[in-house]
Amino acid sequence: MARSGAVPSPAKARGSGSRTSDLSREQQLELYYYMRLTRSLEERLVNLYRQTKVVGGLFRSLGQEADAVGSAYALDRSKGDILSPLIRNLGSMLVQGARPDEIIRQYMAKGDSPTRGRELNIHYGDLVRGFIGQISHLGDMVPVMAGVTLSFKMRKQDRVGLVYVGDGATSTGAFHEGINFAAVQRCPLVVVVENNGYAYSTPLSKQTAAKQLVDKAIGYGIAGEQADGNDVIASYEVTKRAVDRARAGGGVTLVELMTYRRKGHAEHDNQSYVPAGEIDKWASENDPIDRYVIRLRGDGFEESEITSVDQRVADEIDRATDAAEASPMPEPTDALVGIYADPPEESPLWFRQGIKSAVEVHERPSSWGTHDV
C-alpha cells in the first residue's frame, strides 16, 4: 500500500466482534436495517444529485456504515442519550430516529426540511430524539458535547453523550480543548474518532505524526480503545463499553474506529490522490455490509429475513423521496425569522419593503454563471 499511517489494510482489519454479543435476534437484524438504509438512502441521494435536485454538495459514507450504526446503537435512547454526528454519520442519525424524508428534504433545500432550508445535508438535530446538528468547523462539536454532558452531570441525570470526529478533526484546537475540558470534569462523554484515512485529500500521514489516534487518550488521562470500524458488532461493543463507563461515572473514553472512506470528500471529488487499487481492495475485501450479511447467514438468519429488510428499506426510501419531492421550497421572507427569540424576526431592508421574493425583481445576469433553483 502506498499509504502509511494507522489505517489498517483490509486484511488486518478483519477481526470481528465477539460471537457472544448481548444483542437479540431483532437487534442484530435492526443493525442490518440501519446499515442498509444508510447505503440505499445515499444511493437515492446520488440519483437526485445527478438530476440536479440536490442543491448543494452530497456527502457519502460508503464503507463506513458499520462504524456509524454500530457506535450509535450503543447509546440508550430510552435514557435520553445524545450524539453529535459528523458528515459520515448518516447511519448514526438514523439510529437515533432521523427519518429518510427529512434527509432528502434537507438535501433538496425544502421549506419543510428540519432546518427550513437554512442548513445543508445532514446538518440538523433534534434534542428530543437525541442528536445535535454539527457545524462545518471540525472539532467544534467536542466542546459543545462536553457542555451537553456537563449538564447531565450537574443535574445528576443518567445520560451519556457521544461525539464523532474524524482523523482530520483531531488536529484542531477545538478537539483538544473540548476533550481536555470533558476529561477534567469527568463528563459522561464518548469521543468516537472515525479514522477513515483521509481528511478531504489529506492522508493520515500528513495529518499527524502519532502512530495511532487512540494514543491521544493517554495524554488526556482518559480511557482509549480501538476497534475495527467495518465490523458493526465490534463497533457496537467497543462503544458500549465506553458508554457503560461514562454512565457509571468513569468519565471520557476515546474510541478509535478504523475504517476507510471509499468515496471522495463529497460527490464532486474525483479521488485522484488515492493510490491505484486502494478503493477496490477495500470494496472487495472489507465492505461492512457484505461482512455483516455473511455473519448473519452464519448465525442462522434466513435469506428471506435479510431480503425483507432490503424491501422495507426500498419502500421507505421511495415513500420518503415522493414526500420530499412534493415539498415546497421555503418562502423567501422566512429568511428573516428566528435569529433571536426576541425580536422574533428582522425587518426587511428598505429596498425589500413589500417585496416577497428577491428574484422576482433582481434577475441574475446569465454571465454570473449561476441559475436559480
Binding site: L127, I132, P143
Partner: protein
C-alpha cells in the same frame, strides 16, 4: 442603602441570579477558589460550590462551546473571559456555532460571555481591548456594555435571563471608580434600550462605557465655558442598537458627535453614522463627527496610551467644532 461599586454590582447580580435560578452557573479561568482576576466572582464558589462555579482549563473555545452545549439543555451558563481580549481565542465557536444555533438549528443558546474590557489602565495591547465591533457584525449575538453600576447590575440580570447569547462587556476602568446606590428589589435594565445620561439641546454625544464619563465631563466643561447645552446618550446596548433613541436625539439637537474608546476604522461609530445618514439626514445641521482611538494596537506606556485613547479635551474640541459649523 449604601453605595456599591460597578464591580460589586456585577457580583451582586451573579449572586442574586444564581439564587433565583438553579440553572445559572459560572465557568471560567480562576473564578472559583481565587474569585477571578478582578475578584468579580469572589465568594461565589463558597456559596454555590464548585459544581456551579467551575474553574476551567485555559480554554476559551471549551468554555464557550461547553456553555453552548449546557445552554441547549436548559442551563444558563455565565462564562468569564479573564480579560475580554481573550474572547478572540473563542471567536470561531462563538460566531460560527453559538451565534447561528437558533437560526440554523432552532437550538436555543441562552448564555452570557462576560469579561473585563477597555483601557485607560496601562494594560497594554492584550489587557485593554474593546472588541465589540467584531461582534456587532455577527447576527445572533447581543452586546451590552454598561457605564453605571445600576446598569451593570440590571443588564447582567437581563443578560442571564435572555433567551440568546449576550456578550457582556464590563469596563475595568469603571470597576472600582463608579459607585452608586442600587435600587430596591429585583431591578432589570432592558437590553436594547439606551439611556439619556444628560439632557441637552445644542449637540448630542452618542457613546457608551467609559467614554460616557469623559463625555459628561466634556459636556460640563462646554456648558460652563461656552454656554453649550450637550445631550449625552449612553447606548448601554450595542446590539440590538436603540435606533429610536439615536434618531430622537438627532431630531432634538441636529448635531451629533459619536465617541468611543475602540479604534476608528470599522468601529461602532461608523455604523451609527450610517444609520443616521439613512434615516435622519435632513435633520442634521452638521456632519456627524467621531472621536475614537486611533487605529493602532493599544500601547502600554502612559504617554502613548493617553495619546491613543479619546480624552475629555478631544471631546471638548469636537463639540466646539460642531457648534461652530
Amino acid at each position: 442603602m449604601s453605595e456599591i461599586t460597578y464591580l460589586e454590582a456585577i457580583r451582586e447580580a451573579l449572586f442574586e441570579e444564581m439564587a433565583r435560578d438553579e440553572n445559572v452557573f459560572c465557568l471560567g479561568e480562576d473564578i472559583g477558589a481565587y474569585g477571578g482576576a478582578f475578584k468579580v466572582t469572589d465568594g461565589l464558589m463558597a456559596k454555590y460550590g464548585e459544581q456551579r462555579v467551575i474553574d476551567t482549563p485555559i480554554s476559551e473555545t471549551a468554555i464557550i462551546g461547553a456553555a453552548a452545549g449546557a445552554a441547549h439543555m436548559g442551563m444558563r451558563p455565565v462564562c468569564e473571559m479573564q480579560f475580554i481580549d481573550f474572547l478572540s481565542s473563542g471567536y470561531s465557536i462563538l460566531t460560527n456555532y453559538v451565534a447561528t444555533a437558533r437560526y440554523r438549528a432552532m437550538l436555543p443558546c441562552p448564555m452570557v460571555v462576560r469579561g473585563p474590557s477597555g483601557g485607560y489602565v496601562r494594560g497594554g495591547p492584550f489587557h485593554s481591548q474593546n472588541p465589540e465591533a467584531a461582534f456587532l457584525h455577527t447576527p445572533g449575538l447581543k452586546i451590552v456594555y454598561p457605564a453605571t453600576a445600576v446598569d451593570a447590575k440590571g443588564l447582567m440580570k437581563s443578560a442571564i435571563r435572555d433567551e440568546d447569547c449576550v456578550l457582556y462587556f464590563e469596563h475595568k476602568y469603571l470597576y472600582r471608580r463608579i459607585k452608586e446606590v442600587m435600587p430596591e428589589g429585583d431591578q432589570v435594565v432592558p437590553i436594547g434600550k439606551a439611556r439619556v445620561a444628560r439632557e441637552g439641546k445644542d449637540i448630542s454625544i452618542i457613546t457608551y462605557a467609559a467614554t460616557v464619563w469623559k463625555s459628561l465631563e466634556a459636556a460640563e466643561q462646554v456648558q460652563k465655558e461656552d454656554g453649550l447645552s450637550v445631550e449625552v446618550i449612553d447606548l448601554r446596548t450595542l446590539l440590538p442598537m436603540d435606533d429610536e433613541a439615536i434618531v430622537a436625539t438627532v431630531k432634538k439637537t441636529n448635531r451629533v458627535l459619536i465617541v468611543h474608546e475602540d479604534t476608528r476604522t470599522g468601529g461602532v461609530a461608523g455604523e451609527i453614522t450610517a444609520r443616521i445618514n439613512e434615516t435622519a439626514f435632513e435633520w442634521l445641521d452638521a456632519p456627524v463627527l467621531r472621536v475614537t482611538a486611533v487605529d493602532v494596537p493599544l500601547p502600554y506606556s502612559p504617554p502613548l496610551e493617553d495619546y491613543v485613547l479619546p480624552q475629555t479635551s478631544d471631546i471638548v474640541l469636537a463639540l466646539r467644532k460642531l457648534a461652530a459649523y
